[in-house]
């Protein structure tokens, strides 16, 4: 395989992935706003390559309990996409939909989060598909509520086959009226043989 992940820092590839993150997250924010019929602001997404060790720190440390919603990507390119948010953001997100006390991750909250995750990841992938002309779709969601380290081991292991870094796209959505903030992290994880398909479709030659 000719693709080398670590060189991305200095190349156009990171910019391309950042732009994908930007457009994808923009679409996700629009979908979210439509769904809850409220104005949603979005900060410019932050796309970074982080060491394995740094990733759980973003989510309150490896033992902090967070929520991960995971989808497989199927079609012209394969891989997976995961949306991760901490307990506070998860509860804010569910609260935007329905005013309800969501201190605990009960069955109701979990099912609401799956649905929201589905819409966010779905619009993310739809914009990726539009941008690349690749036919791709996402699977049904799988959800896990567990230690950040454990949940983040999933993207870390995938990226671990290429490098010692994880590519992370951080998005912050803010519901304007009540100023409730949702800090979410997308991990776009192409399968190894799909990097060339993805970047090639955007005119980036490796």
């Amino acid at each position: 395989m000719s693709f080398q992940f670590d060189k991305m820092n200095n190349t156009i590839i990171l910019d391309v992935l950042r732009e994908i993150g930007n457009i994808g997250a923009g679409n996700a924010a629009t979908s979210l706003a439509k769904m809850i019929d409220k104005k949603i602001d979005m900060k410019v997404p932050v796309v970074k390559l982080l060491d394995f060790e740094q990733v759980p720190e973003l989510l309150g440390g490896p033992e902090n309990v967070v929520c991960g919603i995971f989808f497989k990507i199927e079609g012209d390119m394969t891989g997976s996409i995961m949306f991760v948010l901490d307990q506070k953001s998860a509860s804010n997100l569910v609260n935007l939909l329905m005013p309800r006390d969501v201190a605990e991750f009960d069955e109701f909250t979990i099912s609401a989060l799956k649905e929201i995750g589905n819409i966010l990841a779905g619009s993310y992938i739809a914009s990726l598909s539009g941008l690349t002309n690749l036919k791709i779709k996402i699977s049904i969601p799988a959800i896990a509520i567990d230690m950040a380290g454990a949940i983040l081991s999933v993207p870390a292991i995938h990226f671990g086959q290429l490098s010692d870094n994880v590519l992370i796209i951080q998005n912050e959505f803010i519901e304007v009226l009540e100023a409730k903030s949702v800090d979410g992290y997308f991990f776009l994880i192409p399968d190894l043989d799909s990097y060339e398909v993805l970047l090639g479709s955007l005119g980036v030659t490796l």
Binding site: V65, M147, S153, I157, G160
Partner: protein, 161 residues
């Protein structure tokens, strides 16, 4: 004074009594704990992938089961351990997200645990405790005074092996 020495992801450490070792939030990764019952030399590795062989960028020996075990044994021997006396305890290898149709990449936890078992067998190190699989994360602590392994989970309690 005993220290609790932290082992990161794709990392390994060897210590002597009375220090202890810990790694936080193991998911599909596997924590490999080795203990010399006589000298109390203690080691831990937090591996991410089963084998370094199919991977071109493989200089980080602690990332792979095959190379990490070799390196951990070497570091423990430098501290006065003897491989013939080593016993192992392993934990992790969970599958955090499950789908009805499984492909190989999703079963990485299981493959990690299997690789660790095979390699330990190759080196003649008996596995005294094996807490792998499931769909949940684990934090582990390994103590050099008696080779006790403490496994903590989010919502599934603590156990001692």
């Amino acid at each position: 004074m005993s220290n609790m020495v932290k082992v990161g992801m794709a990392d390994l450490k060897a210590v002597v009594y009375p220090d202890a070792l810990t790694t936080l939030g193991l998911g599909s990764c596997v924590g490999i704990c080795l203990y010399d019952t006589t000298t109390k030399v203690t080691g831990m590795a937090h591996i991410m992938l089963p084998s370094s062989k199919a991977i071109r960028k493989n200089e980080n020996t602690a990332k792979f089961a095959d190379t990490a075990i070799v390196e951990l044994i070497a570091q423990m021997e430098q501290l006065g351990g003897r491989r013939a006396r080593f016993v192992a305890k392993i934990a992790g290898g969970a599958q955090m997200f499950s789908f009805t149709s499984q492909n190989d990449t999703m079963k990485i936890g299981e493959r990690n645990a299997e690789a660790v078992r095979e390699i330990l067998k190759e080196y003649g190190i008996p596995i005294k405790a094996d807490d792998t699989g499931g769909n949940f994360g684990r934090t582990i602590e390994f103590f050099s005074d008696n080779g006790k392994l403490l496994i903590k989970t989010a919502g599934k309690g603590i156990k001692e092996l």
